[in-house]
Amino acid sequence: MESYNNASLIKLINELEKMPGIGPKTAQRLAFYLLKSEKADVEKLAGSILEAKEKIKYCSVCFNMTEIDPCAICTSLRRDRSLICVVEEPMDIVALDNTGAFKGLFHVIMGSISPLDGIGPEDLKIRELLIRIGKENIKEVIIATNPDVAGEATAIYLSKLIKPLGVKVSRLAQGMPMGGSLEYADEVTLARAIEGRREL
């Protein structure tokens, strides 16, 4: 690639290409956009990436991403503290919270049971969830793992552990087709799924 005999440009394009959803064409376009931008703007972007990376941690209670530990959801006085919604990833909290249909607390288990990857229950934040249920005054747990095979298997595993604790366990309603990812559901679909949850 003679048009690119420029090591730093290639390096930038390669780094951008590693990001989700960024193909080689987009990486190229972004790289040229950055090079055309004012130096101050580029510094602001680089600075904010570093700042976020340094300041944002996982909440020690619910494993949401947060600057302040515990996170704003965990310390909020306006939320229903008898309700926990269990999700796979911190991104799913954003999707569900944006619906406005759920006013309870969250718990991120950081993935789903995936035997071929060697990820079992002990690799997820399940023990932490059970401790929370035992300690806090929880009346219902809504399991909002992804509507795929691993998500279903994880939901069933969780319900078997939680039900004996005397807590109601429900699962997001149908209308969430198998195979999809929660983060891609639109707000209407998600809000309906919360309202129509079924007991497990």
Binding site: P121, G180, S181
Partner: protein, 253 residues
């Protein structure tokens, strides 16, 4: 080479790929084990629906440019969803181990129709059975047989002459591929000791159809001994411990 390939296949594993796509490993009837990209499959309203879920058998149309390394899923239509494997954790765990066998212990792009049919029938039986652990043990022994490492349980696998003494413990050696007679047992250090009940069950699980294996009552001692023998064979012939087996123990304990 034609860019389009039509074949039945069973999804073994799915991973996220880029923002909204999935990278699948599929065991196909015509092409053996392949990797295929399904664009947009993670979207909630994906046109693939649930045809690309793990354990699902579908009819696939793949596109692959002769120069490209990866198949792209162009169409998929469900034949058998095997939903019964999602909703019981012991079946899900056992089906995962079966999928892991095909994922780990087969060569990429090597067509093997007998293995395909065997895998498909095994998933069907697992879905219906009331004894998933028996079906899984039977699957592992039958898989070894299809792969050419079936256990020799009658004549001594070392000298070919002696046999096992009825009603007594015997030794099974992975290196020789089966039981050892008294004389050979004394010479062979690396083997697993099993009781007469486990030996009988082992041969039953290896030879009989799945329907019958569901009726077999296995006590913990025999089941432990059988697992040890299978583990020993897998270690010897594949030298690789399946991650899914450890996770299964965690799930069903």
């Amino acid at each position: 080479m034609q860019p389009y390939h039509k074949t039945q296949g069973i999804v073994l594993k799915t991973r996220k790929y880029s923002e909204s796509s999935k990278l699948l490993t599929i065991y196909t009837r015509e092409l053996g084990r392949i990797n295929a990209l399904a664009k947009g499959a993670r979207k909630i309203k994906s046109r693939f629906g649930s045809s690309l879920e793990v354990f699902t058998e579908s009819k696939f149309l793949f596109y692959k440019q002769p120069s490209a390394g990866l198949y792209v899923v162009s169409q998929a239509q469900i034949l058998f969803p095997h939903e019964g494997l999602y909703f019981a954790n012991d079946k899900f765990a056992s089906a995962s181990v079966m999928a892991d066998f095909l994922y780990t212990h087969t060569v990429q792009a090597e067509r093997h129709e007998e293995l395909y049919r065997f895998f498909r029938d095994s998933l069907k039986e697992l879905e219906l059975t009331g004894a998933p652990q028996n079906v899984l043990l039977s699957f592992m022994l039958k898989f070894l047989t299809v792969a050419g490492y079936g256990l020799q349980l009658k004549a001594c696998s070392s000298c070919g002459k002696g046999g096992t003494e009825p009603g007594r413990d015997c030794r099974i050696s992975a290196k020789h591929g089966g039981v050892l007679c008294e004389a050979c047992s004394r010479k062979e250090g690396d083997s697993v000791v099993i009781g007469p009940a486990a030996l009988k069950a082992l041969s039953f699980l290896q030879e009989k159809g799945y329907k019958l294996t569901g009726n077999l009552k296995l006590d913990d001692t025999s089941s432990g001994e059988i697992k040890k023998v299978i583990g020993n064979f897998l270690q010897y012939y594949y030298d690789y411990e399946l991650k899914s087996m450890r996770v299964m123990e965690e799930i069903i304990k």
